[in-house]
Subunit: 376 residues, 2 copies
Amino acid sequence: MIRSERSSKRRGAATTGGMTARGPLLKDELDIVIPTIRDLAFLEQWRPYLSPYHLIIVQDGDPTKKIHVPEGYDYELYNRNDINRILGPKASCISFKDSACRCFGFMMSKKKYIFTIDDDCWVAKDPSGHEINALEQHITNLLSPSTPLFFNTLYDPYRAGADFVRGYPFSMREGVATAISHGLWLNVPDYDAPTQLVKPAEKNTRFVDAVMTIPKGTLFPMCGMNLAFDREMIGAAMYFGLMGDGQPIGRYDDMWAGWCCKVICDHLGFGVKTGLPYIHHSKASNPFVNLKKEYKGIFWQEEIIPFFQQVVLPKEAVTVEQCYIELAKQVGEKLNGLDPYFTNLSKAMVTWVEAWSEISSSHKKSQATANGSAVK
Amino acid sequence: MIRSERSSKRRGAATTGGMTARGPLLKDELDIVIPTIRDLAFLEQWRPYLSPYHLIIVQDGDPTKKIHVPEGYDYELYNRNDINRILGPKASCISFKDSACRCFGFMMSKKKYIFTIDDDCWVAKDPSGHEINALEQHITNLLSPSTPLFFNTLYDPYRAGADFVRGYPFSMREGVATAISHGLWLNVPDYDAPTQLVKPAEKNTRFVDAVMTIPKGTLFPMCGMNLAFDREMIGAAMYFGLMGDGQPIGRYDDMWAGWCCKVICDHLGFGVKTGLPYIHHSKASNPFVNLKKEYKGIFWQEEIIPFFQQVVLPKEAVTVEQCYIELAKQVGEKLNGLDPYFTNLSKAMVTWVEAWSEISSSHKKSQATANGSAVK
């Protein structure tokens, strides 16, 4: 059903400045999720693009601290006390003192699409000096198909002025539905601590005017800074793991989610895109602090990547939830030798997907009640 | 041996305008191969960039026609009579009345690198209006490693101002040696006949400032218009098939070579890049003529692509020649049901690689004689 809906939109949504005749694109179908520990002043700059949408703010750290949200934004805010109250014992799967807590916002959303952005990301400009409406580009990416089965050398074939090139099989030109749109960053690049230490002043100034599908079977490093996805298609796998407080690792939350999501998208035949849109990433985090958080991950990823490259999901796994449970099982079996952390992570993955299913059911029930239909 | 040589050059050749202290980059290690049926006036525009290099011109069609080469270029020219004389009965593997004949030039070269370009390709300009030295960019691509095992979201990590992003395994950051650099085209895009017919006026005006590795396991449509490769690494597989005169198909010569080369590069651990450099492609060929040449390919590729996606080469095949012989065998066995053409093509592939080996041996002998060493 998802596919046929997408196919009818394959040439992308016709829009002007993110607006349709009915108002901002997908206004009632998309939530913006922001993890934060501070005031959200960055939203002032985003006002023309993001203010029509509903925000889900996940407050990390001290729950007694008051987070200031610029006026005019419609939002709901969850702090640690809320997470504990809503999830009960299952709250253990949601990280604390790490931006991994953002995935709680994905769970609480009742919408089909999510855009998540960090609070140190600002509006970028294209080479002609125009502000980039990042959300509009993400929506265009999500509403047009992906092409994971064969590489198109002129990049996104659905974009105006482009198409499939000679030699591209015609049977593959409908593409597949897109689950994830991964955006990039101008100014401060998303480097690991060792690279930050070696190249403290490097800035990304290259605007690459392309969106492309990551081919089937290829893993990529998914950054959570500027990311959109179809919550109904892949949300149950968009779990940011156990990071931060009480955990031996940090800064691998989005990477973990990306590896899990990519193997599941490949299995289920969904597409993952990367490239446009750019945001302006303002400030590099402290490389010494980052090194402390990352160093185990730097070792572990040498074994984690081959694991994900070889993982095979059974044919019987036909929903994201089924795939995720199976993946959790394999993580527990095959990565536990690396560190006991992976046994905990495997369990947390199961807890996450159980909590996801419970919250989804309660959303459906309350929606049915709101619609006046009988709930048995 | 090839790898260690490349690793020392991993950060790319330091150059200014394609020049080193010793003169033009790789001047004595690279040949330019041009298939043509007409005068090579386009070389006038390329003079600042290509004139220091040796040309190998493969004259297609009527051998009595005189091809005019602009003055000052150093070249050798082969027409059909030469091909027949040099290869004898094996000349049957070289296509006639089709630009597929260019691969004879690859065979006759004694150099390590090849750049091949069509005679309707002109010097393109970047968005700031500067002429693009396509050959210099190809050389940069070939002399820096590829990253086929994991996707880097900031594209070529070896380029100035870029690097590997967070989450990219450190053990994979040395990359692998690059065998092929596939360049793109501004103005007239490389579309098939149906797309040309549907979009007769479409021009490619988007300059995408990126070079990327095509991931391992992913096929792509390789266009022969603007292409460079390491002849020692992959030349024996750069066979453009049986096309044109007396054959049921045309315009799939470069595609065939690309599919064969990609599966062999994947098997041998070599890299394939696409993206920069752009050339300006001046003139769309006639879509009606093209449709006649292509239409069987349009059907056949629907079975050819799954064949190449599933092909497995044996571990014992450790040279390009061994891989190519094995691939020819599988083409004969698995595609012969599609059309008797594939039985002929399979045989021609074997003939090609035998001819390649013979010519290579005779080159080595004549070089040894020239060096004054004894040849037994």
